[in-house]
């Protein structure tokens, strides 16, 4: 039918979708060339949320990077915290205590649950399923309560420290978690009932945004989107960090990489993450949560109050910052969207010389034109939602 359109001298309709458009989360602009309803061409313009993450990191101390990492992938800030801390620890060459590892795993997985819930919820919302959205927001609210209990903030957690954590698990955390998970599972199954088998939903997402595995790899997909294509690559399994190798969990994979697969993978990962948290809580050992290397952390209050050398040293670390040895490392963790890599360069001073983040949703967004050409304009909605582009992470 496009031939007719050409005969009719149909000028193509070029519209700006975004940046301030409900589907683009305010941070992307799609320049869509339409022929009727079909997308002839799609150009993605990002950078609307570029706030100079790297420059800010380079101008602060190693510690001051933590709040900035919170705001990278703001849907799962704890994973960013952990990733950065792990990278710095690798740079310095220290290993954190067992308990710390477990708590970090718990924190990461809670964050992942919140992330996937938000993603599925937002996807549902934009497809018009407002109720499913609110059920997951409700569940996320409960998970956030846990996170708040743990870190003191709902979104911008700033919880992990180099060589340890800010604080230990609070009292009653385990019991509260189990309670919350019980309710979360109810809400999860409600959403599952509302969406997974609903033909209206399936019609919208199935066979849209398909990506063959080879191509997905070439585009640099990672995370749920790659797993949806059938490639079981998960950093937690491939290069287990922390104590993931002791956890018993499965990596859900899809078949064709369409949006339905991405959705199913995410739904399943929520379950798996809950399992991990429960296991970690079960196995949680006692002991310290911080490394015993006072050089790399801010001094404890007891020492500061009582020992003058500690106080002086404290002043030094705060003002000059801790000083990892010169060198460079790259460390990847599995964030909500895939491989979140930190590439740190230290020149031996108190400030990071370079603090690069490999944003997992960056290549995903870059593949939008590939996934969208020749599809209908309405297909942008689920596809873009399911790649879960997070402005803070993509634009930094």
């Amino acid at each position: 039918m496009s031939e007719i359109a050409k005969d009719l001298h149909t000028e193509h309709m070029v519209i700006n979708m975004g940046p301030s458009h409900p589907v683009t989360h305010g941070t992307v602009k799609f320049l869509v060339t339409l022929d009727g309803e079909t997308i002839e061409d799609l150009k993605v313009e990002i950078g609307y949320l570029h706030r100079g993450f790297e420059k800010m990191c380079e101008s602060g101390t190693w510690y001051q990077v933590f709040p900035y990492t919170d705001r990278l992938n703001y849907v799962s800030p704890l994973i960013n915290n952990v990733g950065y801390a792990l990278a710095v620890e690798k740079l310095i060459g220290i290993d954190v205590p067992e308990r710390c590892k477990y708590v970090r795993v718990i924190a990461c997985e809670l964050s992942r649950i919140a992330d996937h819930m938000t993603n599925v919820a937002a996807g549902g919302l934009e497809l018009g399923a407002f109720t499913a959205f609110l059920y997951f927001v409700e569940a996320r609210e409960l998970v956030w309560d846990l996170i708040e209990m743990l870190c003191g903030a709902r979104v911008t957690t700033n919880y992990v420290r180099i060589g340890g954590l800010k604080n230990d698990l609070p009292d009653g955390f385990k019991q509260k978690t189990l309670e919350v998970f019980k309710r979360c599972r109810v809400l999860w199954s409600d959403v599952n009932k509302l969406l997974t088998k609903n033909r209206v939903f399936i019609d919208r997402v199935r066979d849209v945004g398909t990506m063959p595995a080879e191509e997905a790899i070439a585009y640099g997909f990672t995370g749920p989107c790659l797993r949806a294509c059938g490639v079981p690559y998960d950093v937690r399994k491939a290069n287990p960090y922390l104590v993931y190798d002791r956890m018993d969990f499965e990596v859900p994979i899809g078949e064709t990489g369409d949006n339905f697969d991405k959705y199913l993978v995410r739904m399943e990962e929520i379950n798996q993450s809950m399992r991990i948290v429960e296991q970690a809580l079960e196995q949680l050992p006692g002991g310290p949560i911080n490394v015993d290397m006072p050089y790399y952390r801010w001094q404890s209050k007891d020492d500061i109050y009582n020992r003058i050398d500690s106080l002086i040293f404290h002043f030094k670390t705060v003002i000059e910052g801790i000083k990892p040895p010169p060198g460079e490392v790259y460390l990847a963790v599995e964030s909500g969207n895939g491989e979140l890599g930190f590439y740190l360069v230290s020149d031996g001073s108190g400030k990071p010389y370079k603090c690069r983040v490999r944003p997992p949703c960056f290549p995903l967004t870059a593949a939008m034109p590939r996934m969208m050409k020749g599809r209908l304009i309405a297909d942008i909605v689920p596809t873009f939602d399911m790649i879960n582009m997070i402005g803070g992470e993509c634009d930094r």
Binding site: E54, I217, A218, G220, E328, V329, E339, Y343, V345, K354
Partner: protein, 160 residues
């Protein structure tokens, strides 16, 4: 040592274009000449013993006051062998460009644009080398060490 299989094979094959190799903290690193980057990457991708099919990350570092001033850093991952490698190529300020590896990994497209945007390193043969994160009309490259953090260039002029 298993970790250095990659580096071994690379030195075997591209002996003279590898300037330096090391495995600091377990990260295999090879510093290469920038002229050979495409050939090297193609080899890394296609060689049966390496198969680095993921271009995980591409960035640059500005070593102000050192020669070459910039270093373009590639992080590769091989799904098949579960291995990672870091390739670095120096780019001098006087000839601030390097060959694009988009033909090798399509994923490099935006990464290269980003580096171009923030560091001003041109990628020869890139299909669409424009600014990515900042807007047209932004002057300079903010991640260079000599760009002040607070130097603002507001886009908003008089309305219309």
């Amino acid at each position: 040592m298993d970790a250095s299989v990659t580096l071994q094979r690379l030195t075997e094959r591209f002996g003279d274009s590898i300037l330096e190799t090391h495995s600091y903290r377990g990260d295999d690193t090879a510093v290469v000449k920038k002229e050979d980057i495409v050939a090297l990457c193609t080899f890394l991708r296609d060689d049966g013993k390496l198969l680095y099919n993921f271009m995980m990350d591409l960035t640059a570092v500005d070593y102000l006051g050192r020669e070459p001033r910039f270093e373009v850093v590639y992080h590769l991952y091989s799904l098949r062998y579960n291995r990672r490698v870091r390739i670095k190529a120096g780019v001098p300020e006087s000839d601030c460009s390097i060959d694009s590896i988009v033909p090798v990994w399509i994923a490099a497209d935006w990464f290269e644009r980003e580096v171009f945007d923030l560091y001003g390193i041109a990628f020869n043969g890139h299909p669409d080398l424009r600014r990515l994160l900042l807007y047209e009309g932004f002057e300079g490259h903010p991640l260079r060490k000599d760009y002040p953090v607070k130097k603002r260039q507001p886009l908003i002029g008089p309305i219309n």
